[in-house]
């Protein structure tokens, strides 16, 4: 159990640090994981150097998907968009600190998928899979 639900995940799920919506924003995108009905929207503001100043998420989901959204956004604040573009599946798994099977992996990566879709303009990103 410790393997899957580190305290960090439960804590971030129950009291997320980056929940909310931003209007206006510079980047916004939303998508869902049809397998479980999870839905995430991410709003981002950047400064004139394309550095992330604010980032929040909203939506519904399981602990894994919401905690990973919260941890992901924490990690990008103060980073440039170019750095955000380089984020990978491994970065997310490192943040969560757990191993996941294929179904839960989709939960964990939903926020990254949404973020990247926003950052690259619209469309699907296969690079997170």
């Amino acid at each position: 159990m410790e393997d899957f639900y580190r305290e960090l995940i439960i804590e971030r799920y129950k009291t997320p640090h980056f929940r909310g919506e931003l209007e206006p924003n510079d980047i916004t995108f939303e998508d869902d994981n049809p397998a479980c009905g999870d839905h995430i929207r991410i709003d981002v503001r950047v400064d004139e150097n394309q550095v992330v100043t604010e980032a929040v998420f909203s939506g519904e989901g399981c602990a894994i998907s919401l905690a990973s959204a919260d941890l992901l956004l924490e990690s990008i604040i103060g980073k440039s968009i170019d750095v955000v573009k380089e984020l990978t599946k491994e970065d997310i798994l490192d943040m969560l600190g757990i191993e996941l099977g294929p179904v839960r992996l989709k939960c964990a990566l939903l926020s990254l998928k949404v973020l990247k879709s926003g950052v690259y303009g619209i469309g699907k990103t296969d690079s997170t899979e």
């Binding site: 159990m1 899957f4 639900y5 479980c36 009905g37 999870d38 602990a63 894994i64 179904v103 939960c107």
Partner: protein, 414 residues
């Protein structure tokens, strides 16, 4: 809690027949398999029947003259007879082997549907159908411009029979519904429902994926026109299912897939279809799987379907009682008396995926999601639920382990 029940089924003995049940999910954590509605485990006897087939008799069937071909044909057709007997079908010509329930329903949609329906015709379904008994009709409706009607489900998970009567006024050409819901567990009062459909001239198709494994089913007595089910949910192998059909309907239906076996005579530009049931079995069939299917039916009959049903009733009643004691937990569907051993539930503020994963960490295998019944979940405003489903090899102890596991989930999310 003793695992021994008073239903006449010696569960500890039964469990020994299923090799996977002695498995540990990880060191020290034995498997508690509560996902039989998705697929059942297989007794060693079924595996051995297939092994013996492959090690001794394997050959392509029909038309073969050599010893192995004759033996293979014999065991394949013997399996068909066993399954015919199991569901009390009137004749072997009425039992077509398919890949699974899904293919069986598609066969009816393609072959019966495309040749007996026309634009504007109504097809009557229910809100509790599995995707396999929805999507084939959606595809057909889109192609042929048909109207799909749905018998609503009450908040308790029962078909609204008053609404059903009203929908019969649209003179549906087909009623296709499940015998037992794979989410709610609801066992529909099939006989009356089918009778009423017949009285307005509708052809009836029953999705028996969840019923044939768990209840004694008599298709002749039910007077179903079509009845579909899968071996893999009833102790049999993957890769095979069956469609029972009324003889006059099957005889008039054009072939579905074209190829070897389903023909009597072929010229370059035309063919003559074979007799039933071969007309609907194109290409080399799932021969070993048929043998395994037959062995599964033998296994179930040997134990007795009534005993299996009773055992599951006991488990269901017990599980329902225990689950309903848990605060913040809601069980879907009707009370224990009206349902089979399928229990979908949700916990307030905890996602079913998290429930399933934490349960897995204590060895309890349940399913989380929409269980291929998304419209039903939409209706109840639930993106997903957790589902525990039981079969002949489950014990009251295992139910206790489920309950303990749920307690653990709640502790973690407290």
């Amino acid at each position: 809690m003793a695992a021994k029940t008073t239903t006449g089924l010696d569960v500890q003995q039964v469990r020994k027949d299923f090799p996977v049940l002695s498995r540990e999910v990880r060191p020290g954590v034995p498997l508690i398999y509560l996902d039989s509605a998705a697929t059942s485990q297989k007794p060693e006897a079924v595996l051995q029947a297939m092994n013996t087939y492959y090690r001794e008799n394997n050959a392509n069937i029909h038309r073969g003259i050599h010893t192995l071909a004759e033996e293979a044909t014999h065991v394949y057709e013997t399996a068909r007879k066993k399954i015919v007997g199991f569901i009390h079908a009137p004749s072997v010509e009425q039992l077509i082997f398919t890949r699974n329930t899904t293919e069986a329903i598609n066969l009816v949609a393609f072959s019966w549907g495309r040749h007996n329906l026309s634009a504007g015709d109504h097809i009557l379904l229910t809100e509790m159908e599995h995707h396999s008994n929805l999507v084939p009709w959606q595809l057909l409706a889109a192609e042929m411009d048909l109207v799909l009607d749905f018998i609503p489900v009450t908040p308790e998970g029962i078909l609204e029979l008053d609404e059903y009567q009203k929908l019969l006024n649209c003179n549906p050409k087909l009623l296709a519904l499940t015998h037992m819901s794979n989410v709610l567990g609801t066992i529909n009062p099939l006989k009356e429902i089918l009778q009423d459909a017949k009285s307005v001239g509708a052809v009836t198709l029953v999705d028996g994926a969840q019923s044939v494994p768990h209840l004694p089913v008599n298709v002749a007595d039910l007077e179903a026109d079509f009845y579909a089910f899968s071996a893999h949910k009833m102790c049999g192998p993957t890769g095979i299912g069956a469609l029972y059909g009324r003889k006059d309907l099957l005889e008039k239906m054009p072939p579905f897939l074209g190829g070897g076996e389903m023909i009597k005579r072929v010229e370059l530009r035309s063919f003559k279809a074979n007799d039933l049931p071969h007309k609907f079995e194109a290409g080399t069939p799932a021969i070993a799987e048929a043998v395994g299917f037959g062995a599964a039916v033998d296994y179930l009959l040997d134990l007795g379907m009534d005993k299996i049903e009773n055992h599951e009733r006991l488990l269901t009643k017990y599980a329902m009682e225990k689950l309903q004691e848990i605060p913040d937990l809601t069980v879907l569907g009707p009370p224990a008396e009206k349902k089979g051993g399928v229990i979908a539930f949700y916990l307030k503020n905890i996602h079913p995926h998290d429930v399933a994963q934490i349960l897995d960490s204590v060895g309890v295998a349940i399913r989380a999601g929409h269980h291929c019944a998304q419209p039903l979940h939409t209706k109840y405003n639930l993106p997903a639920t957790s589902r525990a489903s039981m079969y002949l090899y489950n014990t009251l102890d295992e139910v206790d382990r489920l309950i303990d596991g749920i307690q653990k989930v709640k502790d973690i999310f407290r």
